[in-house]
Symmetry: C2
Subunit: 144 residues, 2 copies
DNA sequence: TACATTGTACTATAAGACTAATACAATAGG
DNA sequence: CCTATTGTATTAGTCTTATAGTACAATGTA
C-alpha cells in the first residue's frame, strides 16, 4: 500500500506530567494544528486505534477526544471510514458566533481585569498570539 | 462620607445547577467585582462565616475561595481580622505579567482560531467586554 | 485576662473525571 | 458474503475535586 507516508502525518505527543488530561491534550493539538494550517479541511485524522497505539493509550481516550471535536463541529467522523477535519468549518449563525466568542472572551477579561491588565495589553497579547499562529499559513489571507 | 455600613455590601449568589463549583463562583464574583469597581483596594470582604451563612454553604468552602484569591495576590487575609482586597493590586514583575497574560490568552486564541474567528473579531470582542466592565469606573487608574 | 470574632486544619464522604478492558457495530473493498 | 478496518458502547477501577462537620488557633478589644 502507498499510505500517506509522504505527507507529514502530524506529530502528536502527550505530557503525562502536565496534569492536563490526555483527551484534552489531543483536542488542543488538533485545534492548534487547524489554526496554524497543519490540518486542513478534509484531512483525515489518525485512526482511533493507530493514534492510541502511537501514544500508548487506550483507544477510548482517543475516541473521546474525537467525539468532543465532533460535537463542536470541528471534525466529522464516520464509523468504518475514519475521522476527518470538517468541510464546513463550523456552521454557526451570526448570533451563535457572537455568543460563542463572548463565552470564550468573557472569563479571560474578568481575570485579566482583576489582575490589572489594561485593555491595550490584552489586545497586544491577542495580536501576538495570532501572529504566532499565522506564520505557517499561505492561502488563508482573509479569515475574516 | 459613607462608611462601610451603608455601602452596598455586594450581592453574592450561587447557581448550584451551573456545574461550576461554589468556591470558583465566589472567586469569579470577587474578580469581577474588582474588575468593574464594586470592590476597591482595601475593602473588606464578607467574613468567611457570614458569607457561608448568607449562601447557606460551609465556611470551609468560602475559606477555600478566599485562599485561592490570596494565593493569586488578589486579597490579603489576616486571622482574627478579616479578608481584604489587596492594597498592592498584584505585585508581579514585568516578565511574570507577560507570562500570565500569555497563559490567559493562548487557550482562547487556539480555540477561537480553530472555530474560524478572525483576529479582528476577537479583538472586537475583547474591546466590547472591557467596555462592559469599565462602565462603573470613575477615578480608577486609567486602564489606558 | 476573658471573650467574641476572625481565619485555619483535619477528616470524611459523595460525586465526578479520567482512563482502561473488553466486546460490539458499521463501513469499504475484495 | 467475508473480513479487515473503522468508530462505538458498556463497564469498571482509580484518582481527584468539591463540600461539609468539627475542632483548633490567632487577633482585637473591653
Amino acid at each position: 500500500m502507498a499510505p500517506e507516508s509522504d505527507r507529514k502525518p502530524i506529530q502528536f505527543n502527550l505530557d503525562p506530567k502536565s496534569g492536563v488530561p490526555y483527551y484534552k491534550q489531543i483536542i488542543l493539538q488538533v485545534e492548534f494544528a487547524i489554526a496554524d494550517g497543519r490540518f486542513a479541511t478534509g484531512d483525515q485524522l489518525p485512526t482511533v486505534r493507530s493514534l492510541a497505539v502511537d501514544l500508548k493509550i487506550n483507544p477510548n481516550t482517543v475516541a473521546r477526544a474525537y467525539n468532543e471535536l465532533e460535537i463542536r463541529g470541528i471534525v466529522n467522523t464516520q464509523q468504518g471510514t475514519g475521522t476527518f477535519i470538517s468541510d464546513k468549518q463550523i456552521k454557526l449563525t451570526e448570533v451563535e458566533r457572537e455568543g460563542m466568542l463572548d463565552t470564550l472572551v468573557r472569563p479571560l477579561i474578568s481575570k485579566a481585569a482583576s489582575y490589572g491588565f489594561a485593555m491595550a495589553e490584552v489586545l497586544d497579547a491577542v495580536r501576538d498570539a495570532y501572529k504566532g499562529i499565522v506564520q505557517n499559513e499561505e492561502e488563508q489571507h482573509d479569515i475574516l
